[in-house]
């Protein structure tokens, strides 16, 4: 399996390197769909210039990256392209390993269930075979690396964070890093904890002391590393400027540059005295679903991670297509859910059409001056609706498969006729 992965990495790096050399790179790095005020390379360069002049990079209203990143790029400025390619490759390898690990676990669980005769006989076709699962990690890596969305964000030199799951401490540190980058990954804390608990065979039970002990231990590690990162930034920079400039900027959404998210148009149109209220309503969307989803999916932390990443990508304040590509990379992991998906054709058509319409309507609005922002926002809205449909469709399909695994595939009504499952 190592050889195809290496080949894939080489292909991905070649495409990126070739694109960096063309004039397309400039064009892409200007696109609002790809870069956000948080991660635009132009702004990083501005921050670096300010830093070189011994001025706090946050003194202007341009730079909103975290201090660690700017110091990182301070040293890597000349190797920026390689750094971005490397980051993409590392993320892909990490995804590959994580999914491989997850597959092993799923398979083990399935074997236990089979041996214990817990699965009804007619559900055998729902059982996943090792052969079909063999290529999934590779597919995940491929989906990530060759996704046009990922490629354009890499070429645009977006500074999106990446995540991996290994040991408890490592996961806590990486999670803290991701949170430090953009606060939203905070919600991933719960699935990460669930995942680790599951690996250690600690049941999720509020009356067990081992559960509480481990949870507290994990939270301590997470918060500890977060605190270390923030203090480190303070010592690097010598001031707390970065807190309002980074986190205040993410939470209070002062920059209303159009993007593929839901915030900009809404807050551009809104009266000022409603702003705070709706800010809370919009931001709470990201965090709101964590608790119910964690209760429902406490047995399936990896699916929960997928749901959370997707929700973050949809509801965050400055989304880009790079966020999209991360959760889309997980889709091959769930291709056994395919038979239960209902709207996949509709959703993929809408996503495809929207991706083509974004640049067209942007052109009509900004360059031709004949259309206006309403046209562009309509597409943004449609794009978000399609994403939500996609995620909820996968959620439904997942639950339905679980239902069938316990109750049998061919459900009968009480009177013996064939039953249908209805989501209400």
């Amino acid at each position: 399996m190592a050889a195809p992965l290496a080949l894939l990495l080489i292909v991905a790096v070649t495409i990126r390197a070739a694109l960096f050399r063309t004039s397309l790179a400039n064009l892409i790095s200007e696109r609002v769909e790809v870069v956000s005020p948080l991660n635009a390379w132009k702004r990083v360069v501005e921050g670096l210039a300010l830093l070189d002049l011994d001025i706090s990079p946050y003194s202007g209203d341009v730079f909103h990256e975290t201090p660690m990143v700017i110091y990182l790029f301070h040293f890597l400025m000349d190797y920026a392209e390689i750094t971005f390619m490397l980051a993409d490759c590392l993320t892909a390898v990490a995804l590959y390993l994580a999914v491989k690990d997850y597959n092993k676990q799923v398979f083990r669980k399935q074997k236990f269930a089979l041996e214990a005769d817990r699965i009804p006989m007619d559900c055998l076709e729902l059982i996943r075979s090792p052969t079909e699962m063999y290529y999934i990690p590779l597919k995940v890596a491929m989906f990530y690396l060759l996704n046009p969305f990922t490629i354009v964000s890499c070429v645009a030199k977006c500074t999106c964070g990446c995540l991996i799951y290994g040991s408890a401490l490592l996961s806590a540190i990486f999670l803290a890093l991701a949170t430090y980058q953009s606060i939203y990954p905070l919600t991933l804390c719960v699935p990460a904890l669930l995942y680790l608990l599951q690996r250690l065979y600690i049941p999720v039970n509020v009356r067990r002391s081992s559960f509480w002990f481990y949870t507290l231990q994990y939270l301590f590690m997470f918060l500890g590393s977060l605190l270390v990162l923030i203090c480190l930034s303070f010592f690097l920079l010598g001031s707390w400027d970065f807190l309002p400039a980074v986190y205040g900027f993410i939470l209070s959404v002062p920059d209303l540059t159009p993007n593929i998210g839901l915030f900009w148009y809404f807050f551009a149109e809104m009266f000022d005295h409603f702003r705070l209220f709706f800010l809370c309503v919009f931001q709470i969307n990201v965090f709101f679903y964590t608790l119910p989803l964690s209760i429902k999916l406490k047995e399936h932390p990896v699916f929960l991670i997928f749901m959370q990443i997707a929700l973050i990508a949809i509801f965050k304040s400055y989304p880009t297509v790079g966020d999209l590509s991360l959760y889309m990379a997980f889709l091959p992991v769930w291709n056994h859910l395919y038979r239960f998906l209902r709207n996949i054709f509709l959703v993929s058509c809408v996503l495809l059409a929207c991706s083509a319409l974004f640049p067209v309507l942007w052109h009509l609005w900004i360059y031709a001056g004949s259309a206006n922002s309403n046209f562009y926002y309509a597409i943004t809205l449609l794009f978000s609706v399609a994403q939500i449909l996609l995620v909820s469709d996968y959620f439904y399909a997942f639950l339905r498969r679980e239902h069938h695994l316990t109750n049998g595939l061919y459900l009968k009504k009480k009177d013996g006729s064939e039953a249908t499952l209805v989501l209400k």
Partner: protein, 614 residues
């Protein structure tokens, strides 16, 4: 959401859509065409009205008196033009300076990718002369432009005369709040392109020009005047700009309002507005006017010198003087008064024209159809593609299980990625060849064949286009083995969705182009399968291909202009239209040629591939 979650209702709906797919598609197509034809019917259209407050309520009085003197200046200009054999730069500079303008010149040069045989030019060198009348009433942050071309031969001398006459008259007035720039551009659009690029400090097409020495404020609106006779019978308004872009409808309204006020006959597409909409001839007149506009817009080229202004958010139109055999004539003084009135109203603008529509079609100068009314016509055609895609999707997701002799059910294997990817890649490579090779290989072709450069380019393009028909089909078999039943369905699904997205985007930018392409490509996309009779369908496909659509459009356009051509002339015209299309792309950045070569043609080749799927 009931439809999305209730499986029974979904099944019923999808069942109905797949069972009645063909009839629904037929109905949609006919409804789309009928809707489009209905757009020219007067009760379905809206009367034009002025939306801009700053231009609507204010009164202006036109007093331009010096038509005769302007014509005399025009004659003087003509004499100097003849003497210098081109733009009389020195004379123009002197004359403009004498009228109290700040005068500057701009030199430019441009080598065309291949000789333009229509206008007989290859290495273009020229000079633009412009004079700025500084606004006495306001800070100089905004400007208006009046331009007239310096054309070869005896044309447009009167336009330059009126321009100079207006400059002199405007100079003596004190109410100007915007700079007024009087521009005489040489080599029509090439000069205009150089001037606009110089004014806005951009260089998109790699042209050589000297930087502008003087500037006014940001340009709010521009008019381009073309006039070749001392008296005119009517004035024609030209709106179509680069890539089918149109100026704000208020500019057309302004022109119409002043024509009404002063009593000048005004036309668009050379057609007078008529009142007898309830008669057949009245309706067909409106249809002709609208179809002319649709064809001109679909051609994506600027139809007057104003066409390039639109790219810079400047509302612009061309006004052409027409002198026909009607008895009723308008003199130069009246034309000058009309322009004076329009500029005074534009002078009152507080912000750019934006109140009225940008997306519209005009079945006459007094009537318009807005985007909300004409989009459904396209939507109905695009719906067919989506319905076909849905049908294919349903067929693919429930594969028919064949039963072999043993009674074992065999589910056909799903097609490999290669069998889909190969035709896609090959047809796009053909498209790239069609886009790049004609201009690149002209020297080679001229060496080996007895043709001129222009002919070489056009004929190479046609040759590659035709060769594409023979080349790509069944290439998937080389790599992926025998094509399967599933294979072509997947390919067709991809092609249909591709076409739908492509046409949708095109129609948003340039409705006319999108609609004409949809009219020919949609039926073809709907009916092509490997199982229809090969020869007949191949003939139909070739007839409906983008290349021949262009040929028909050329004949149809000539027919509508009431200058029908014979087959031979039509063919020559067709060749020159192709060369003009390629030149427009190279010179001004018109998008039709790359769109057709890189996207539409490969998409059509995909369907060609499906027809010959084995």
């Amino acid at each position: 959401m009931g439809l999305l979650s209730d499986p029974n209702r979904r099944r019923a709906l999808i069942g109905m859509l797949t069972r009645l797919n063909a009839p629904i598609c037929m109905i949609c197509y006919m409804a789309g065409v009928a809707w489009f034809m209905g757009l020219a019917f007067e009760p379905f259209t809206l009367r034009t009205y002025m939306s801009e407050n700053a231009m609507g309520s204010t009164m202006v009085e036109e007093r331009f008196p010096a038509g005769e003197r302007a014509l005399a200046t025009g004659r003087e200009f003509a004499a100097h033009k003849k003497k210098t054999g081109g733009m009389p730069v020195d004379w123009l500079v002197r004359t403009m300076q004498a009228r109290g303008l700040e005068v500057y010149t701009q030199r430019f040069s441009r080598k065309l990718p291949f000789p333009d045989e229509d206008k007989e030019r290859y290495m273009v060198k020229g000079t633009n002369v412009y004079g700025i009348l500084r606004a006495p009433r306001a800070p100089r942050t905004e400007a208006l432009v009046l331009s007239a071309p310096c054309s070869p031969g005896n044309e447009n001398n009167q336009a330059v005369g009126i321009l100079l006459g207006l400059a002199q008259y405007f100079r003596s007035q004190i109410y100007w709040a915007k700079d007024i720039i009087f521009l005489v551009n040489e080599h029509d659009l090439i000069g205009m392109q150089a001037w606009l690029e110089g004014y806005h400090h951009t260089n998109t097409t790699g042209m050589d020009w000297s930087p502008l020495q003087g500037r006014g404020g940001s340009i709010q609106a521009a008019l381009s005047l073309e006039l070749s006779s001392d008296v005119v019978t009517s004035l024609d308004l030209v709106l179509e700009g680069l890539n089918g872009q149109l100026p704000n409808l208020d500019l057309a309204n302004l022109f119409y309002a002043f024509c009404q006020k002063i009593g000048v006959l005004c036309t668009t597409q050379g057609k007078l507005p008529r009142n007898d909409w309830d008669t057949t001839s009245g309706y067909s007149h409106a249809v002709q006017t609208m179809m002319l506009m649709v064809l001109k817009q679909a051609s994506s080229r600027p139809w007057g010198d104003h066409g390039l202004f639109l790219r810079y958010h400047i509302e612009a139109a061309s006004i052409k003087g027409v002198n026909s055999f009607r008895p009723y004539k308008t003199d130069a003084t009246t034309v000058g008064r009309l322009l004076e009135g329009m500029y005074r109203k534009l002078n009152n603008l507080l912000e750019r024209l934006h109140q009225s529509y940008f997306f519209y079609l005009m079945p006459s100068l007094t009537r318009f159809v807005s985007i909300g009314y004409y989009m459904p016509a396209f939507g109905l055609l695009a719906l067919i593609l989506l319905l076909r895609a849905l049908d294919l999707w349903v067929q693919l997701s429930s594969p028919p299980t064949r039963t072999t002799e043993d009674g074992v059910e065999v589910v056909p294997a799903s097609p490999g990625v290669l069998s889909i990817l190969t035709p896609l890649v090959i047809s796009h490579l053909t498209g790239v060849a069609l886009y790049t090779l004609p201009v690149l290989s002209q020297e080679l072709a001229v060496e080996h064949f007895p043709v001129s450069e222009t002919e070489a380019v056009v004929l190479t393009a046609i040759a590659i286009y035709t060769a594409g028909l023979a080349l790509p089909h069944n290439t998937h078999r080389l790599l992926a083995g025998e094509g399967t039943e599933q294979g072509w369905k997947v390919l067709k699904l991809v092609a249909v969705l591709y076409l739908a997205v492509l046409l949708g985007c095109t129609a948003l930018i340039n409705f006319s182009l999108g609609f004409i392409l949809a009219l020919t490509l949609v039926p073809l996309a709907a009916f092509i399968t490997p199982h229809v009779p090969k020869t007949l369908s191949a003939v139909v496909m070739v007839i409906l291909s983008p290349g021949l659509t262009l040929l028909f459009a050329v004949f149809f356009f000539q027919e509508l202009q009431e200058t029908p051509v014979t087959l031979q002339e039509g063919w020559m015209l067709y060749l020159s239209v192709i060369s003009q299309g390629i030149l427009d792309h190279a010179l001004y950045g018109s998008l039709l040629y790359p769109l057709a070569a890189l996207l539409v043609y490969p998409c059509w080749l995909l369907f060609w591939n499906i027809l010959f799927w084995k």
